[in-house]
Protein backbone atom coordinates (compact mmCIF):
# COMPACT_ATOMS: atom_id res chain seq x y z
CA UNK A 1 0.00 0.00 0.00
CA UNK A 2 2.69 2.48 0.95
CA UNK A 3 6.48 2.65 0.95
CA UNK A 4 8.31 5.83 1.84
CA UNK A 5 11.93 6.67 2.65
CA UNK A 6 13.20 9.80 4.40
CA UNK A 7 16.76 10.88 5.08
CA UNK A 8 17.82 12.33 8.39
CA UNK A 9 21.02 13.29 10.24
CA UNK A 10 21.05 12.66 13.97
CA UNK A 11 23.72 14.43 16.05
CA UNK A 12 25.93 12.36 18.37
CA UNK A 13 24.14 11.27 21.53
CA UNK A 14 20.93 12.96 20.45
CA UNK A 15 17.43 11.75 21.32
CA UNK A 16 14.91 13.20 18.87
CA UNK A 17 11.28 12.94 17.82
CA UNK A 18 10.62 12.50 14.10
CA UNK A 19 7.27 12.62 12.30
CA UNK A 20 6.98 11.09 8.83
CA UNK A 21 5.11 13.04 6.17
CA UNK A 22 1.54 11.81 6.30
CA UNK A 23 0.76 8.74 4.19
CA UNK A 24 -2.34 8.85 2.00
CA UNK A 25 -4.74 5.93 1.68
CA UNK A 26 -7.76 5.86 -0.61
CA UNK A 27 -10.68 3.96 0.89
CA UNK A 28 -8.61 1.71 3.16
CA UNK A 29 -10.29 -1.28 4.70
CA UNK A 30 -11.54 -0.03 8.05
CA UNK A 31 -11.25 -1.90 11.34
CA UNK A 32 -14.66 -2.71 12.81
CA UNK A 33 -15.70 -4.12 16.17
CA UNK A 34 -17.05 -7.65 16.42
CA UNK A 35 -20.38 -7.92 14.63
CA UNK A 36 -20.07 -4.70 12.59
CA UNK A 37 -17.62 -5.83 9.92
CA UNK A 38 -14.13 -7.17 9.40
CA UNK A 39 -11.20 -6.43 11.67
CA UNK A 40 -8.94 -5.28 8.82
CA UNK A 41 -5.35 -4.82 9.90
CA UNK A 42 -2.39 -3.32 8.06
CA UNK A 43 1.20 -4.15 8.91
CA UNK A 44 3.18 -0.98 9.56
CA UNK A 45 6.94 -1.56 9.51
CA UNK A 46 9.48 1.15 10.31
CA UNK A 47 13.19 0.61 9.73
CA UNK A 48 16.18 2.85 10.37
CA UNK A 49 19.29 2.28 8.28
CA UNK A 50 22.56 4.05 9.09
CA UNK A 51 25.01 4.98 6.35
CA UNK A 52 28.06 2.73 6.57
CA UNK A 53 26.35 0.35 8.94
CA UNK A 54 23.13 -0.94 7.38
CA UNK A 55 19.96 -1.77 9.24
CA UNK A 56 20.15 -0.43 12.77
CA UNK A 57 16.70 -1.07 14.19
CA UNK A 58 13.20 -1.94 13.08
CA UNK A 59 9.68 -2.07 14.47
CA UNK A 60 6.41 -3.40 13.16
CA UNK A 61 2.82 -3.41 14.31
CA UNK A 62 -0.63 -4.49 13.15
CA UNK A 63 -2.55 -1.25 12.72
CA UNK A 64 -6.24 -0.73 12.09
CA UNK A 65 -7.84 2.37 10.57
CA UNK A 66 -10.78 3.24 12.77
CA UNK A 67 -12.28 6.26 14.43
CA UNK A 68 -13.82 5.81 17.87
CA UNK A 69 -15.72 8.47 19.78
CA UNK A 70 -18.03 8.59 22.75
CA UNK A 71 -20.21 11.13 24.52
CA UNK A 72 -22.42 11.15 27.60
CA UNK A 73 -26.10 11.12 26.60
CA UNK A 74 -27.91 13.88 28.50
CA UNK A 75 -31.20 12.01 28.45
CA UNK A 76 -30.02 8.73 29.94
CA UNK A 77 -26.64 9.54 31.48
CA UNK A 78 -25.25 6.62 29.52
CA UNK A 79 -22.18 6.74 27.29
CA UNK A 80 -22.86 6.54 23.55
CA UNK A 81 -20.18 5.14 21.28
CA UNK A 82 -19.63 5.54 17.57
CA UNK A 83 -17.14 3.62 15.48
CA UNK A 84 -16.28 4.95 12.03
CA UNK A 85 -19.26 7.26 12.30
CA UNK A 86 -21.71 4.47 13.04
CA UNK A 87 -23.50 4.16 16.39
CA UNK A 88 -22.75 0.89 18.14
CA UNK A 89 -24.80 -0.86 20.81
CA UNK A 90 -22.23 -1.91 23.38
CA UNK A 91 -22.42 -5.45 24.73
CA UNK A 92 -19.63 -5.65 27.24
CA UNK A 93 -17.91 -7.96 29.64
CA UNK A 94 -16.10 -6.97 32.82
CA UNK A 95 -12.49 -8.16 33.02
CA UNK A 96 -10.07 -8.25 35.90
CA UNK A 97 -7.31 -10.49 34.65
CA UNK A 98 -6.83 -13.88 33.12
CA UNK A 99 -5.16 -15.54 36.13
CA UNK A 100 -4.49 -14.53 39.74
CA UNK A 101 -0.91 -15.82 39.51
CA UNK A 102 -0.38 -13.74 36.36
CA UNK A 103 0.42 -16.76 34.16
CA UNK A 104 -0.56 -14.70 31.16
CA UNK A 105 0.25 -16.81 28.12
CA UNK A 106 -0.65 -15.81 24.58
CA UNK A 107 -2.70 -18.99 24.19
CA UNK A 108 -4.70 -18.17 27.29
CA UNK A 109 -5.34 -14.61 26.12
CA UNK A 110 -6.40 -15.85 22.70
CA UNK A 111 -8.81 -18.39 24.18
CA UNK A 112 -10.35 -15.97 26.68
CA UNK A 113 -10.81 -13.15 24.19
CA UNK A 114 -12.15 -15.35 21.41
CA UNK A 115 -14.66 -16.65 23.95
CA UNK A 116 -15.86 -13.07 24.52
CA UNK A 117 -16.20 -12.57 20.78
CA UNK A 118 -18.06 -15.87 20.45
CA UNK A 119 -20.47 -14.60 23.11
CA UNK A 120 -21.25 -11.77 20.70
CA UNK A 121 -19.61 -9.15 22.94
CA UNK A 122 -17.99 -6.12 21.39
CA UNK A 123 -16.31 -4.54 24.41
CA UNK A 124 -14.19 -5.64 27.38
CA UNK A 125 -13.85 -3.33 30.34
CA UNK A 126 -10.55 -3.71 32.25
CA UNK A 127 -11.46 -2.92 35.85
CA UNK A 128 -9.39 -0.34 37.78
CA UNK A 129 -8.52 -2.75 40.57
CA UNK A 130 -6.81 -5.10 38.13
CA UNK A 131 -4.14 -4.71 35.46
CA UNK A 132 -3.28 -2.43 32.66
CA UNK A 133 -3.57 -5.32 30.25
CA UNK A 134 -0.61 -6.51 28.25
CA UNK A 135 0.09 -6.00 24.52
CA UNK A 136 -0.80 -9.66 23.86
CA UNK A 137 -4.27 -9.05 25.34
CA UNK A 138 -4.74 -6.07 23.04
CA UNK A 139 -3.39 -8.00 20.07
CA UNK A 140 -6.17 -10.56 20.36
CA UNK A 141 -8.76 -7.83 20.97
CA UNK A 142 -7.52 -6.31 17.69
CA UNK A 143 -7.91 -9.67 15.98
CA UNK A 144 -11.35 -10.55 17.37
CA UNK A 145 -12.86 -7.04 17.36
CA UNK A 146 -13.27 -6.42 21.07
CA UNK A 147 -13.16 -2.74 21.99
CA UNK A 148 -11.27 -2.15 25.24
CA UNK A 149 -12.31 0.19 28.05
CA UNK A 150 -9.09 0.48 30.07
CA UNK A 151 -9.19 1.93 33.58
CA UNK A 152 -6.23 3.22 35.59
CA UNK A 153 -5.46 1.86 39.06
CA UNK A 154 -7.98 3.63 41.24
CA UNK A 155 -10.93 2.03 43.03
CA UNK A 156 -13.55 3.54 45.30
CA UNK A 157 -12.82 1.04 48.05
CA UNK A 158 -9.08 1.68 48.27
CA UNK A 159 -9.19 5.35 47.29
CA UNK A 160 -11.84 7.17 49.27
CA UNK A 161 -14.49 4.77 50.50
CA UNK A 162 -14.64 1.49 52.39
CA UNK A 163 -14.78 0.71 56.09
CA UNK A 164 -12.79 2.31 57.59
CA UNK A 165 -12.78 5.02 54.95
CA UNK A 166 -9.67 4.80 52.80
CA UNK A 167 -7.49 7.67 51.65
CA UNK A 168 -9.20 9.61 48.83
CA UNK A 169 -5.85 11.14 47.94
CA UNK A 170 -4.22 7.78 47.22
CA UNK A 171 -1.85 6.58 45.92
CA UNK A 172 0.82 8.26 48.03
CA UNK A 173 3.12 9.11 45.12
CA UNK A 174 1.16 10.98 42.49
CA UNK A 175 4.18 11.51 40.27
CA UNK A 176 4.80 7.76 40.22
CA UNK A 177 1.18 7.16 39.23
CA UNK A 178 1.56 9.53 36.29
CA UNK A 179 4.88 7.99 35.25
CA UNK A 180 3.19 4.58 35.16
CA UNK A 181 0.12 5.98 33.36
CA UNK A 182 2.17 7.72 30.66
CA UNK A 183 4.32 4.65 30.09
CA UNK A 184 1.25 2.43 29.87
CA UNK A 185 -0.32 4.72 27.29
CA UNK A 186 2.85 4.54 25.20
CA UNK A 187 2.84 0.74 25.47
CA UNK A 188 -0.75 0.30 24.28
CA UNK A 189 -1.74 3.33 22.22
CA UNK A 190 -1.31 1.86 18.75
CA UNK A 191 -3.87 -0.92 19.18
CA UNK A 192 -7.09 -0.30 17.25
CA UNK A 193 -9.13 -2.07 19.94
CA UNK A 194 -8.16 0.54 22.54
CA UNK A 195 -11.33 2.62 22.82
CA UNK A 196 -11.39 4.54 26.09
CA UNK A 197 -9.15 5.41 29.05
CA UNK A 198 -10.94 5.82 32.38
CA UNK A 199 -9.44 7.27 35.59
CA UNK A 200 -10.64 4.45 37.82
CA UNK A 201 -13.44 2.26 39.10
CA UNK A 202 -16.41 4.02 40.72
CA UNK A 203 -14.12 6.89 41.67
CA UNK A 204 -12.19 9.69 40.08
CA UNK A 205 -8.48 9.94 40.85
CA UNK A 206 -7.22 12.81 43.04
CA UNK A 207 -7.67 16.18 41.31
CA UNK A 208 -4.07 16.67 40.25
CA UNK A 209 -3.85 13.18 38.74
CA UNK A 210 -7.24 13.51 37.09
CA UNK A 211 -6.36 16.86 35.51
CA UNK A 212 -3.01 15.57 34.30
CA UNK A 213 -4.58 12.47 32.75
CA UNK A 214 -7.29 14.48 31.03
CA UNK A 215 -4.75 16.94 29.70
CA UNK A 216 -2.32 14.27 28.48
CA UNK A 217 -5.02 12.17 26.83
CA UNK A 218 -7.00 14.86 25.04
CA UNK A 219 -6.95 14.93 21.26
CA UNK A 220 -3.97 16.91 20.00
CA UNK A 221 -5.10 20.30 18.57
CA UNK A 222 -3.44 19.38 15.27
CA UNK A 223 -5.89 16.54 14.80
CA UNK A 224 -8.80 18.54 16.18
CA UNK A 225 -8.43 21.02 13.33
CA UNK A 226 -7.27 18.50 10.75
CA UNK A 227 -9.98 15.97 11.18
CA UNK A 228 -13.22 17.18 9.66
CA UNK A 229 -15.08 14.23 11.10
CA UNK A 230 -14.06 14.94 14.67
CA UNK A 231 -17.08 17.22 15.12
CA UNK A 232 -19.35 14.22 14.66
CA UNK A 233 -17.95 12.78 17.86
Amino acid sequence: EQLQTQNLSIPPGAHIDYTFPQLFFYKPNLWWPNGMGKQSLYNVAITVEVKGYGESDSWSHQFGFRQIGSTIDNATGGRLFKVNGQPIFIRGGNWILSDGLLRLSKKRYQTDIKFHADMNFNMIRCWGGGLAERPEFYHYCDIYGLLVWQEFWITGDCDGRGDPVSNPNGPLDHDLFLICARDTVKLLRNHPSLALWVGGNEQTPPDDINKALKNDLKLHPYFESLNELSSTF
Binding site: T5, L8, G13, N43, V48, E49, F63, K186
Partner: protein, 264 residues
Protein backbone atom coordinates in the same frame (compact mmCIF):
# COMPACT_ATOMS: atom_id res chain seq x y z
CA UNK B 1 27.85 -9.79 15.55
CA UNK B 2 24.61 -10.33 17.42
CA UNK B 3 21.32 -10.61 15.59
CA UNK B 4 19.31 -7.39 15.72
CA UNK B 5 16.05 -7.33 17.66
CA UNK B 6 14.50 -8.93 20.69
CA UNK B 7 15.37 -12.16 22.47
CA UNK B 8 13.04 -13.09 25.31
CA UNK B 9 14.56 -14.40 28.52
CA UNK B 10 11.71 -16.72 29.50
CA UNK B 11 13.45 -19.95 30.43
CA UNK B 12 16.21 -21.23 32.67
CA UNK B 13 15.36 -18.93 35.56
CA UNK B 14 16.05 -19.89 39.16
CA UNK B 15 14.57 -18.29 42.27
CA UNK B 16 15.18 -18.27 46.01
CA UNK B 17 13.73 -16.54 49.06
CA UNK B 18 16.03 -13.62 49.86
CA UNK B 19 16.26 -14.51 53.53
CA UNK B 20 17.72 -17.89 52.60
CA UNK B 21 20.49 -16.52 50.39
CA UNK B 22 23.61 -15.29 52.13
CA UNK B 23 25.34 -14.07 49.01
CA UNK B 24 25.21 -10.57 47.57
CA UNK B 25 24.01 -9.76 44.09
CA UNK B 26 27.59 -9.06 43.10
CA UNK B 27 28.71 -12.48 44.32
CA UNK B 28 25.78 -14.21 42.61
CA UNK B 29 26.72 -12.65 39.29
CA UNK B 30 30.48 -13.09 39.51
CA UNK B 31 32.06 -15.75 41.71
CA UNK B 32 29.10 -17.67 43.16
CA UNK B 33 26.33 -18.22 40.61
CA UNK B 34 23.53 -20.38 42.05
CA UNK B 35 22.74 -23.92 41.01
CA UNK B 36 20.25 -26.66 41.81
CA UNK B 37 22.94 -29.22 42.55
CA UNK B 38 22.43 -29.56 46.27
CA UNK B 39 19.20 -30.73 47.90
CA UNK B 40 19.75 -28.14 50.61
CA UNK B 41 20.01 -25.37 48.07
CA UNK B 42 17.39 -22.63 48.54
CA UNK B 43 17.22 -22.22 44.76
CA UNK B 44 14.37 -23.62 42.69
CA UNK B 45 13.16 -23.43 39.11
CA UNK B 46 11.33 -20.14 38.60
CA UNK B 47 8.39 -18.96 36.54
CA UNK B 48 9.44 -15.85 34.64
CA UNK B 49 7.37 -14.04 33.65
CA UNK B 50 5.24 -14.81 36.66
CA UNK B 51 4.87 -14.22 40.36
CA UNK B 52 6.52 -15.60 43.47
CA UNK B 53 3.41 -17.66 44.21
CA UNK B 54 3.57 -19.03 40.68
CA UNK B 55 7.14 -20.17 41.33
CA UNK B 56 6.26 -21.68 44.71
CA UNK B 57 3.32 -23.54 43.17
CA UNK B 58 5.46 -24.84 40.31
CA UNK B 59 7.80 -26.33 42.92
CA UNK B 60 4.90 -27.74 44.98
CA UNK B 61 5.89 -25.63 47.98
CA UNK B 62 2.36 -24.26 48.35
CA UNK B 63 -1.03 -25.82 47.55
CA UNK B 64 -2.97 -24.50 44.59
CA UNK B 65 -4.57 -21.31 45.93
CA UNK B 66 -7.46 -21.59 43.49
CA UNK B 67 -8.46 -25.13 44.50
CA UNK B 68 -11.04 -25.45 47.27
CA UNK B 69 -10.07 -23.47 50.37
CA UNK B 70 -6.37 -24.13 49.96
CA UNK B 71 -5.54 -20.46 49.76
CA UNK B 72 -6.10 -20.39 53.52
CA UNK B 73 -3.05 -22.65 53.92
CA UNK B 74 -0.71 -20.11 52.32
CA UNK B 75 1.00 -17.55 54.55
CA UNK B 76 -0.23 -14.03 53.86
CA UNK B 77 2.34 -11.27 53.42
CA UNK B 78 0.47 -9.25 56.03
CA UNK B 79 1.37 -11.91 58.60
CA UNK B 80 4.77 -12.96 57.27
CA UNK B 81 6.20 -9.53 56.50
CA UNK B 82 7.54 -8.35 53.16
CA UNK B 83 10.89 -10.18 53.46
CA UNK B 84 9.12 -13.55 53.19
CA UNK B 85 8.01 -12.74 49.65
CA UNK B 86 11.18 -10.86 48.64
CA UNK B 87 12.82 -13.18 46.12
CA UNK B 88 15.97 -13.48 44.07
CA UNK B 89 15.60 -14.46 40.42
CA UNK B 90 18.61 -15.60 38.43
CA UNK B 91 19.39 -16.59 34.86
CA UNK B 92 22.17 -16.60 32.31
CA UNK B 93 22.29 -15.60 28.69
CA UNK B 94 24.74 -15.18 25.84
CA UNK B 95 25.04 -12.11 23.68
CA UNK B 96 27.99 -11.00 21.58
CA UNK B 97 27.43 -7.54 20.07
CA UNK B 98 29.88 -6.08 17.59
CA UNK B 99 31.56 -2.70 17.94
CA UNK B 100 28.67 -0.56 16.74
CA UNK B 101 25.91 -2.55 18.36
CA UNK B 102 24.10 -1.72 21.57
CA UNK B 103 22.22 -4.03 23.91
CA UNK B 104 19.35 -3.16 26.25
CA UNK B 105 17.98 -5.31 29.04
CA UNK B 106 14.22 -4.72 29.10
CA UNK B 107 11.66 -5.50 31.79
CA UNK B 108 8.10 -4.85 30.61
CA UNK B 109 6.80 -4.83 34.18
CA UNK B 110 7.95 -5.78 37.68
CA UNK B 111 5.91 -5.75 40.88
CA UNK B 112 7.00 -3.73 42.75
CA UNK B 113 10.66 -2.65 42.74
CA UNK B 114 13.94 -4.41 42.10
CA UNK B 115 17.71 -4.41 42.20
CA UNK B 116 19.33 -5.78 39.06
CA UNK B 117 22.83 -7.26 39.02
CA UNK B 118 24.53 -8.15 35.77
CA UNK B 119 28.07 -9.52 35.82
CA UNK B 120 28.70 -7.80 39.14
CA UNK B 121 27.22 -4.43 38.18
CA UNK B 122 24.23 -3.13 40.12
CA UNK B 123 21.28 -1.10 38.81
CA UNK B 124 18.16 -0.06 40.72
CA UNK B 125 14.72 -0.40 39.14
CA UNK B 126 12.31 2.17 40.62
CA UNK B 127 8.88 1.41 42.08
CA UNK B 128 5.65 0.90 40.17
CA UNK B 129 3.86 -2.19 38.88
CA UNK B 130 2.93 -0.69 35.51
CA UNK B 131 6.07 0.70 33.93
CA UNK B 132 8.75 -0.53 31.62
CA UNK B 133 12.44 -0.54 32.54
CA UNK B 134 15.23 -0.42 29.98
CA UNK B 135 18.90 -0.70 30.91
CA UNK B 136 21.78 -0.15 28.48
CA UNK B 137 24.04 -3.12 29.26
CA UNK B 138 26.38 -2.86 26.28
CA UNK B 139 29.46 -2.03 28.32
CA UNK B 140 28.98 -4.66 31.01
CA UNK B 141 28.32 -7.68 28.81
CA UNK B 142 30.72 -10.58 28.54
CA UNK B 143 30.60 -10.92 24.76
CA UNK B 144 32.53 -14.18 24.67
CA UNK B 145 30.83 -16.02 27.49
CA UNK B 146 27.92 -16.35 29.86
CA UNK B 147 26.27 -13.26 31.27
CA UNK B 148 25.01 -13.70 34.81
CA UNK B 149 21.79 -11.84 35.69
CA UNK B 150 20.28 -11.67 39.18
CA UNK B 151 17.19 -9.66 40.12
CA UNK B 152 16.10 -9.04 43.70
CA UNK B 153 12.37 -8.29 43.59
CA UNK B 154 10.66 -6.49 46.47
CA UNK B 155 6.88 -6.71 47.10
CA UNK B 156 4.67 -3.61 47.14
CA UNK B 157 5.58 -1.17 49.91
CA UNK B 158 2.12 -1.39 51.50
CA UNK B 159 0.86 -4.97 51.09
CA UNK B 160 -1.64 -4.41 53.94
CA UNK B 161 -3.42 -6.85 56.21
CA UNK B 162 -6.50 -8.89 55.48
CA UNK B 163 -9.28 -8.33 58.04
CA UNK B 164 -10.79 -11.54 59.49
CA UNK B 165 -13.90 -11.15 57.36
CA UNK B 166 -12.00 -10.05 54.27
CA UNK B 167 -13.64 -7.13 52.52
CA UNK B 168 -13.21 -4.97 49.49
CA UNK B 169 -9.48 -4.41 49.13
CA UNK B 170 -8.68 -5.69 52.63
CA UNK B 171 -7.50 -2.83 54.81
CA UNK B 172 -7.00 -0.68 51.67
CA UNK B 173 -3.25 -0.20 52.30
CA UNK B 174 -2.42 -1.42 48.79
CA UNK B 175 -4.11 1.75 47.52
CA UNK B 176 -1.07 3.68 48.73
CA UNK B 177 1.02 2.02 45.99
CA UNK B 178 0.71 2.11 42.20
CA UNK B 179 -0.19 -1.55 41.86
CA UNK B 180 -3.13 -3.86 41.25
CA UNK B 181 -5.58 -3.43 44.13
CA UNK B 182 -7.56 -6.67 43.84
CA UNK B 183 -4.66 -8.51 45.52
CA UNK B 184 -5.96 -7.76 49.01
CA UNK B 185 -9.12 -9.66 48.12
CA UNK B 186 -12.54 -8.52 46.94
CA UNK B 187 -16.08 -9.79 46.93
CA UNK B 188 -15.17 -12.02 43.99
CA UNK B 189 -11.59 -12.95 44.92
CA UNK B 190 -9.58 -14.30 47.83
CA UNK B 191 -6.46 -12.33 48.85
CA UNK B 192 -3.36 -13.07 46.81
CA UNK B 193 -0.80 -13.97 49.46
CA UNK B 194 2.26 -12.48 47.74
CA UNK B 195 0.29 -9.50 46.34
CA UNK B 196 1.49 -10.59 42.88
CA UNK B 197 5.14 -9.86 43.68
CA UNK B 198 7.45 -10.86 40.86
CA UNK B 199 8.83 -10.29 37.38
CA UNK B 200 5.31 -10.60 36.07
CA UNK B 201 5.81 -9.58 32.45
CA UNK B 202 8.27 -10.13 29.64
CA UNK B 203 12.05 -9.88 30.12
CA UNK B 204 14.18 -9.50 27.03
CA UNK B 205 17.47 -8.34 25.63
CA UNK B 206 17.28 -6.10 22.60
CA UNK B 207 20.11 -5.53 20.14
CA UNK B 208 20.30 -2.45 17.91
CA UNK B 209 22.84 -0.72 15.75
CA UNK B 210 23.98 2.86 16.35
CA UNK B 211 20.44 4.29 16.19
CA UNK B 212 17.48 2.98 18.15
CA UNK B 213 13.74 3.42 17.55
CA UNK B 214 11.50 3.97 20.57
CA UNK B 215 7.77 4.30 21.18
CA UNK B 216 6.34 4.80 17.70
CA UNK B 217 2.94 6.49 17.62
CA UNK B 218 0.46 5.81 14.81
CA UNK B 219 -2.59 8.03 14.30
CA UNK B 220 -5.07 8.18 11.43
CA UNK B 221 -7.27 11.03 10.22
CA UNK B 222 -10.34 10.68 8.02
CA UNK B 223 -11.96 12.80 5.29
CA UNK B 224 -14.76 12.56 2.71
CA UNK B 225 -16.75 9.92 4.52
CA UNK B 226 -13.69 7.71 5.05
CA UNK B 227 -12.63 7.74 1.39
CA UNK B 228 -9.54 9.84 2.09
CA UNK B 229 -7.48 8.65 5.03
CA UNK B 230 -4.05 9.66 6.29
CA UNK B 231 -1.65 7.80 8.51
CA UNK B 232 0.55 9.93 10.77
CA UNK B 233 3.59 8.18 12.25
CA UNK B 234 5.90 9.66 14.87
CA UNK B 235 8.92 7.91 16.35
CA UNK B 236 11.64 8.64 18.85
CA UNK B 237 15.19 8.07 17.64
CA UNK B 238 18.31 7.84 19.76
CA UNK B 239 21.83 8.05 18.34
CA UNK B 240 23.96 6.25 20.90
CA UNK B 241 27.29 7.01 19.28
CA UNK B 242 29.69 9.94 19.32
CA UNK B 243 29.39 10.61 15.59
CA UNK B 244 26.66 12.02 13.37
CA UNK B 245 24.42 9.23 12.09
CA UNK B 246 23.24 9.67 8.49
CA UNK B 247 19.99 7.73 8.50
CA UNK B 248 17.41 6.47 6.06
CA UNK B 249 14.01 6.02 7.65
CA UNK B 250 11.72 3.63 5.85
CA UNK B 251 8.04 3.22 6.56
CA UNK B 252 6.29 0.37 4.81
CA UNK B 253 2.57 -0.38 5.06
CA UNK B 254 1.19 -3.62 3.70
CA UNK B 255 -2.05 -5.49 3.85
CA UNK B 256 -2.55 -9.17 3.33
CA UNK B 257 -4.89 -9.72 0.38
CA UNK B 258 -4.91 -13.46 0.63
CA UNK B 259 -2.73 -15.72 2.69
CA UNK B 260 0.96 -14.80 2.26
CA UNK B 261 0.25 -12.41 -0.66
CA UNK B 262 0.66 -8.70 0.00
CA UNK B 263 -0.01 -5.61 -2.09
CA UNK B 264 2.84 -3.09 -1.94
Amino acid sequence: MAELGKTELDSGWLAARSTEVDLTGIQLTTTHPPSLNSSSSPWMEAVVPGTVLGTLLKNKLIPDPFYGLENDAILDIGDSGRDYYTFWFFTTFKCAPSGNQHVDLNFRAINYSAEVYLNGHKKILPKGMFRRHSLDITDILHPDGQNLLAVLVHPPDHPGNIPPKGGQGGDHEIGKDVAAQYVEGWDWMTPIRDRNTGIWDEVSIYVTGPVKIADPHLVSSFFDNYERVYLHATIELENRNDWVAECSLIIHVTTELVENACLV
